[in-house]
């Protein structure tokens, strides 16, 4: 018979005090990201989701997102917000660019989003208690509506970046990073980097890098979600009207196009705050339900929302402090993802408007 012991204290000593360096780092990360202005007086609590909640961490193929909350640079006076992101992560150096609607249309493609909840068969171990605090789309909309507005000045371009990865037959990923710079009149440039992340390689271990030639776009293009810049700035602030406008601007042959276009709008730096709020509420009407905070294998974290059909699932992640879209995961239902499946993960990243590259 052994001597009595405390299974926790004896097993792992309480040697994890919060040192000053870690304390200050966490404090800055949490509090510096909160606006100094008083919060909205009243927040409307959305009803608890009807279905059991699942976590992305439980997903057979955890999504990977590289997002750049630096999209806030120039928009806020405070420090950059980087949820779960290592500030020393070299991946961030790629994040100064921007996404166009066409790129996202391809990237998020094959997704069918319909109003509806996750099937009960989707439930799995690790579900969250329904009573647990979960950020809702309505919460995010309230936050988003209070964020600073940012417009694009003549001569400026907005950079948007979109990263996507598709599983290869050998278990690795084909990765493409679309860089887009477009101005008020729709003119701009595009460029795409491609690379391969071998199976088992960590981020940063990509090989076979290649870059496409720069494509120059003439004025007149609609590079801001489904809209031109002028249309974006005057987009409806009512969720239903915004959905109607996005539907009218989306290719009618794709049932997923509306959700996809709304997701793009949510990522853009120059989307008016009230439009962003309307887009978030519109996503709720399309069946996106909260699944709590989601964390990708790189440690990037956002408030997650999922919409599922029998054969497709999409998860979107948002910065809980701004309502900005961070990234997405799109895959074949909840089945294990096999090599060659059209499972994709991706990220939105964009920066404050800047001078157009030469």
């Amino acid at each position: 018979m052994n001597a009595p012991l405390d299974p926790i204290s004896d097993f792992r000593p309480d040697g994890y005090g919060l040192d000053d360096r870690r304390r200050e780092r966490m404090r800055a990360r949490v509090l510096d990201a909160i606006p100094d202005a008083p919060a909205a007086a009243t927040l409307v609590a959305a009803p608890a989701p009807a279905e059991a909640l699942v976590t992305v961490a439980e997903h057979p193929d955890p999504w990977v997102v590289e997002f750049d909350s630096g999209l806030d640079r120039g928009l806020d006076s405070g420090p950059r917000r980087r949820w779960g992101h290592d500030p020393h992560d070299s991946h961030r150096s790629n994040s100064r660019r921007l996404l166009v609607a066409a790129a996202v249309a391809v990237a998020i493609g094959l997704l069918a989003v319909v109003a509806g909840n996750s099937r009960s068969s989707d439930r799995q171990a690790g579900t969250l208690d329904q009573s647990s605090p979960v950020v809702t789309l309505d919460d995010l909309a309230t936050v988003a509506a209070t964020q600073p507005d940012r417009t694009l000045a003549p001569g400026e371009t907005q950079y948007l970046e979109f990263t996507q990865a598709i599983r290869r037959d050998d278990g690795g990923f084909d990765i493409t990073v679309d860089h887009n710079w477009h101005g008020i009149d729709g003119s701009g440039h595009r460029q795409t980097d491609t690379m391969v992340r071998p199976e088992g390689a960590l981020p940063g271990g990509e090989i076979d890098h290649a870059t496409t030639a720069t494509v120059t776009d003439p004025p007149g293009g609609a590079w801001f979600g489904p809209f031109s810049y002028a249309e974006l700035r005057s987009a409806p602030t009512d969720p239903a009207a915004l959905l109607a406008a996005a539907t009218a601007a989306s290719p009618p042959q794709h049932s997923w196009a509306v959700a996809e276009q709304i997701a793009v709008l949510e990522s853009l730096a120059t989307t008016p705050p009230e439009v962003r709020a309307a887009g978030l509420r519109a996503l709720a009407t399309l069946g996106f339900r909260p699944i709590g905070m989601v964390t990708d294998p790189l440690g990037h974290t956002g408030a997650g929302f999922q919409a599922s059909t029998t054969d497709r699932t999409e998860i979107l992640a948002f910065d809980p402090l701004t309502g900005r879209a961070l990234g997405y995961w799109s895959g074949p239902g909840r089945a294990a993802i096999a090599p060659g499946d059209a499972a994709r993960w991706g990220a939105f990243g964009n920066d404050a408007p800047s001078a157009q590259p030469g």
């Binding site: 009595p4 299974p7 439980e58 690790g126 936050v143 402090l321």
Partner: protein, 187 residues
Amino acid sequence: MLAQGGTAKSSLSTKDEFAALYDHNVEVVYRYVARRLGPDMGEELTAQTFAEAWAGRQRFDPDRGSARAWLLGIATNLVRRHYRTETRQLRAYAATGVDPVATFDDVEVLDRMVAGDRSRDIAQALSELPTTDRDILYLTSTLAMTYAQVSQVLDLPIGTVRSRLSRARRRLETRLDGPITHGTAEP
């Protein structure tokens, strides 16, 4: 007192008020998470806990428990998402005697990194506990919480907390072939 159950609903409307809540509770939340998943995940999940608290602050109901219990509830849910990781870490600890969450910049932890057989047995036993039982064990041991406080954190009846903790203790005693003096939770 805000940290233990004050009127947080009326104290979370501004950044300064939320900062006060943060300062009162960050140490406790971090210690709880870091003890389970290590200092790096402790930092990550503690920050996430407060981010989620800020975003969902309108749902905090002081009538259902203290602000600290609410925060620890969020933290526990976040930890649960890493249940498999935690289990893998415990099994690795049991197999190797080296605590995978220990860091080399912590002398005290470093001194204990190479554990004896007893600690390895404990790690194995903990890895076999159901999620909620593990939650209860850590909350009562790491934070010396009472049944009532744990029931607030986990939103469980006090009787359930008591019976689950009792069950967890029995499991551990059986697995470890000896009595345990696991601290604390008194009604």
